[in-house]
């Protein structure tokens, strides 16, 4: 079923909206969630929470691109759960690695003063990603939005793993420079 038709089912409050979404994007959302959460039961539950969130959000939302819209919900929910479950311990898996890599972009001072609201940070990061050349932007998002490994990204884009790591490292440096320039760090 076309995405527009699925969104229409949500707007009609049709019971078929969720099963149609599950059929089309169930596996996709599970893949997004599983890259953040290592535990299968947690991932399954989190994906079900994605459907509930989508049901509650549409309407009033009318997402133009359903797949990335669901991916954002899934990522946020999975990260919330990751945070709550790893509050007391160092987390394993790809998410911990992703977070440690992102720490490179930040100042060394542990308690850097919060000069801007999260919305401002989001605005700068969004603009930064949009201005990146397509290849760098895509590789950055696959790593830091979707938590994919360098090997997966390399396979996706026909690059070598070393090439992916170099691209990511270069983009992180650029991001750090941008955040510094914007006085966010």
């Amino acid at each position: 079923m076309e995405d527009h038709a699925i969104v229409e089912l949500y707007w009609q409050r049709s019971e078929r909206a969720v099963p149609e979404t599950v059929q089309k994007y169930g596996a996709y959302c599970l893949a997004v969630v599983k890259r953040i959460l290592q535990n299968k039961e947690n991932a399954d539950e989190c994906v079900n929470d994605v459907w509930l969130s989508a049901w509650n959000a549409i309407p009033p939302e009318r997402p133009a691109l359903l797949r990335p819209y669901l991916a954002k919900i899934a990522r946020n929910l999975a990260f919330d759960r990751y945070r709550s479950e790893n509050a007391e311990k160092r987390g394993g898996g790809e998410t911990a690695l992703v977070l440690d890599e992102l720490a490179e972009c930040l100042a060394d001072r542990a308690d850097t003063e919060k000069a801007f609201e999260a919305a401002e940070l989001g605005r700068v990061v969004r603009a930064f990603i949009r201005e990146l050349p397509e290849r760098e932007g895509n590789v950055f998002l696959r790593r830091y939005f979707f938590n994919e490994s360098a090997a997966e990204i390399a396979r996706r884009y026909g690059l070598s793993e070393a090439n992916v790591r170099v691209l990511l490292s270069r983009t992180r440096r650029k991001l750090k420079a941008r955040l510094t320039e914007e006085e966010l760090i």
């Binding site: 078929r16 972009c105 830091y144 026909g158």
Partner: protein
Amino acid sequence: MTKEELYRAIGTTEEDLLERSETRNEYGETERETAEPRWEDAAIQRARGRARRMPSVWRIAIAACLVFVLGVGGAVYANDVREYRTAMAFFDENGLSTEGLSRADIKSVYRDITTARFTNEKTAEVILNTVPGLEIAQKEPTPDEIEAIWNRNIWAVPLPASAGGMTYRVEQTERMGDQGFTVLDKSIVTCIKDGEEVWTAEYPDLLVFSDGVVPTADGTAVYGQSYRWSSQQPVIAYLSRVGDDGTVLWTKRLDHGFEQETIYGVVDNGDGTWAVISRGDVRTLCLSQYDIDGKELSVRKTETGIYGIWNFTRFGDGYLAQLGNSSTGTTARIVKLDREGNILDDFSYEGDDCFYTITDMIEYGGRVYLSTHAVPKQTDEGGRHEIANVLDYVMERMEESRNENGSGYDVPNDELTRLVRDNYTAVLLLVEPEDGEPETFYAVKGSLGADLNVNDGGELVWDVQSVTSTFFSPMTSSFTIGGMCEVYRYAFDARGRLVREQDTGETVPYRR
């Protein structure tokens, strides 16, 4: 700033960029294309230098061989790349993980699934790892079982919109956009009668909603909105009039000063004018009137809070609109509007001991009928305001069983069905124009109220979904109860008398 905050900030990336990243591009090849010519230039120059010294017959023979070798090799390479790309796109489309798979594995799994063989052991691994919600007890599932799981991905065909004797089909076509992903090309509205196409109208770059087609005495009203591929773009509402031959007579952009405006309903006032209900910038309810030439006659904007407009119908000299917000459990709030759009009355329909959810609304015989389902007020909602009591009961039984027997207890489906049937009552409410307060008109136990229509014979038809089976899944946290309903159809005459009850033989799923 913490790394978690940065991670969350990346999570706000616009949808179009995320979608672009899903598209497969062989950047490695792009690199080869830019890198190899430098190497090739030198080689070609050397070859050319030698070729200049060769007799022409040898030059032709060598060139022919090169063409053959490069042609065959290139074709093999190109086919390999094409199949790999197709396979990867297939994996993407279906959310299958490529983790741990080689390039050859990916292609073979793709072939195994698309040829419906399901015999490759990697296929089982991939499908079982990525298709959610199903568990297989055996260690080595059979190809039939793998196929059964995979076939859950068969997509259903949407039901067409229908009104009066006509049926309307709304479709969208897509094209590859400059952004590198597919975007809306156009919406196509088709009017069908007795299985034959009567007319077709096209709307380039405009998203027509599947319920955005309303037959009126003055042609067909069609509504939708501008297509946007990013949530950062504005939403512009459009209203259009189509003549009886399918000619688009006019398309009008609603301009009520909002960044985002969405039309929720259009009703024919019966005097050559249409009333349009829309919502602007999420919080403002907007009622505007148009003549048949698309001229705006009036508009009234009222801030009502964050509500969707779930139903809209004529009511006496004015209108009734249902405002809903499922995240706050607002499922039965009704506002009464006058012709100009002023809100005259605003009430939530709620019984002393039950909640109502309105699913459809229709004007018939000068009165308004509301199709609803009622559930008893729950002791502990916990976000599940319809089935909290059922879930509590199930959980208690499981706990008791665990304490007594040391093992879990599976609630039999027939017991669960009985519980759910006791929980739901389909109720047809009647609203008289004088007071606007709904009153119970007809009730069916164990059921959910569904669509209301007027059939070709001028009777009011109310569909009721009777719960016939239910299952419970403790594996999930959100949608824990689901099952099937049989659809019964009740017909009433203009005086409100029940004239017919029919088992349609149709079944529909439900989930809570």
